[in-house]
C-alpha cells in the first residue's frame, strides 16, 4: 500500500556525518539546537534512516542514527513510536515509494518493438534497484525471516514477470497466458534476467567489488539472450487465425 510517496528519496551520499549542530571546537558550550518543522524533521530522519540501516543493518543503534542526524536519540521517538516503525517507514520509502507504475505500461506498449521495450524497462528498473540502499536493505530484510521479500517478489512476478512472458508469447505468435497458463520454465527465464541485474548490485554494494561491465551492456546482452532462447522453450505455436 503506497502510504505517501511524498518524500523524494534523494538522500545524501554515504551517511552524511553529523552536521555539527554544535560548534566545531572541542566540547562547545551551549548547543545551538535547531528547530525544524515537524514535516522537515520527519523527512530528514527517514532519509537518514534509509542510508543508516542500509549501511549498518537493522541492528544499527538509534543513538548512532541520531548522532549522524546531529540530534539526540529520544527525539527519534517523537516522530516514530518505535524503532520498528522507523524501519517500516524505510521499507515504504525504498521498496514501495520507488516503484514506478509506468513500468507495467511500458512492458505492454505494443507500439514499441519488444526488444526496445524490455531493454528500456530493465534499464529503468536497474537504475532504481542498483543503489546501495535498495540492494543492501533488500538483503538485510531477507536475512531476517520476515516474509517481506517473498511478498515483494510475488508482486514482481505478478506485475512484471508474467507481463513479460505474455509479451514474449505475443511476439512469437504463441497462445496468451489466458489460454495456456504460464510455465515454470518461462518464469525461470525471466528470473535469469532479473538475477543477473540484481547480482551486479550484490557485487558492487555487498562484496564491494567494482563491476566489470556497464549495466547497459549487461541488460542488452541478457535481453538478447532472453529473446533468442525463449523460442526454443515456449509451448508449440498455434496456427494463426
Amino acid at each position: 500500500m503506497v502510504r505517501s510517496l511524498t518524500s523524494k528519496p534523494s538522500l545524501a551520499g554515504p551517511l552524511t556525518a553529523a552536521p555539527s549542530p554544535r560548534g566545531a571546537a572541542a566540547d562547545t558550550p551551549p548547543a545551538a539546537r535547531r528547530r525544524l518543522s515537524p514535516a522537515d524533521r520527519e523527512k530528514s530522519i527517514a532519509a537518514a534512516a534509509i542510508a543508516f540501516f542500509a549501511e549498518r543493518g537493522f541492528e544499527g543503534q538509534t543513538r548512532e542514527l541520531a548522532a549522524i542526524l546531529g540530534i539526540t536519540q529520544p527525539l527519534l521517538y517523537r516522530y516514530f513510536p518505535s524503532k520498528e516503525a522507523l524501519i517500516e517507514r524505510v521499507y515504504q520509502d525504498v521498496f514501495v515509494g520507488r516503484w514506478d507504475p509506468f513500468w507495467e505500461e511500458l512492458i505492454g506498449d505494443r507500439r514499441i518493438p519488444i526488444a526496445d521495450r524490455l531493454t528500456r524497462f530493465y534499464v529503468s528498473y536497474a537504475k532504481v534497484i542498483l543503489t546501495p540502499e535498495w540492494i543492501r536493505l533488500f538483503m538485510f530484510a531477507g536475512l531476517k525471516n520476515l516474509d517481506f521479500n517473498a511478498r515483494y517478489l510475488k508482486f514482481l512476478r505478478d506485475r512484471i514477470f508474467e507481463a513479460v512472458v505474455e509479451e514474449l508469447r505475443d511476439h512469437f505468435g504463441r497462445p496468451s497466458l489466458k489460454r495456456v497458463p504460464v510455465l515454470d520454465i518461462e518464469i525461470e527465464m525471466v528470473w535469469s534476467v532479473h538475477a543477473s541485474i540484481f547480482y551486479l548490485g550484490v557485487r558492487e554494494f555487498i562484496y564491494r567489488l567494482p563491476p566489470g561491465c556497464s549495466v547497459q551492456d549487461i541488460v542488452a546482452a541478457k535481453i538478447q539472450m532472453l529473446l533468442g532462447g525463449v523460442a526454443a522453450v515456449l509451448p508449440a505455436a498455434e496456427p494463426a487465425p
Copy 2:
C-alpha cells in the same frame, strides 16, 4: 528482574531445540550434566555455531547458542576465547573446510571433454555452496564490512575463473592466458555462470522461495550458454603452429 534464563528461550525457529540434557518433564530436578571430551565438545559447539549464526546472523546471542547445545553460556568461553573467535572458526569450517582441491584438477583435466568437465565441476561446487549455512553465512559476512568476501572471491577468481577461461581458450584454439592476459569480458562470462548458481541459493535460503528448476538443469543450461557465447567474444584466434 528475570535475570536467570530459567524459562527456555525456545527460539521458535527450525534450529534443533535444546537436546534436553535435563529430563523432559517440567523443571527437572538436578541437571544430569554430560561430560564430553574437549575435542567432542569443541566440535559440537562449532557445528552448532554454524547452523546458529547462519540462521540468526552474527548478532545471535551466545546464550541462545548455548541453550541450543544444552549447555550454559560460560562453557562456550572455555573452548573459544571470544565470540569473534567462534565466528572465525565458523568461517574456517564452512568456507575453507569445504573447499575441494580436486576442483582445480578437474577443470584442467583435458582428457575429459570440456563441457563434461565444467558441468561436473559446477554441479560439485553447487552441492557445496547451495546450503543454508554457506549461502546465508556468506551474505551475512558480506553485509558486515569485512573484506572476507572480497578475499574469497579473489581466490575464486584466481583458482577457478581463470582456469575456466584458460580451458575455454584452449578448447577454441585461442592463445593461452600466458600470452594474452585475461579479458574483463571473459571473467564476466564466468561470473554469469557463478551468479546464476549462487542466486538459486539466495532464492531458496534467503527469500525462502522454492526454486523452479533443478540445479542440474540450470548448470547444464548455463554451461551450454557459456560455451556457445564465448566464441563470439574471445580474442581473435592465432594460426595453429
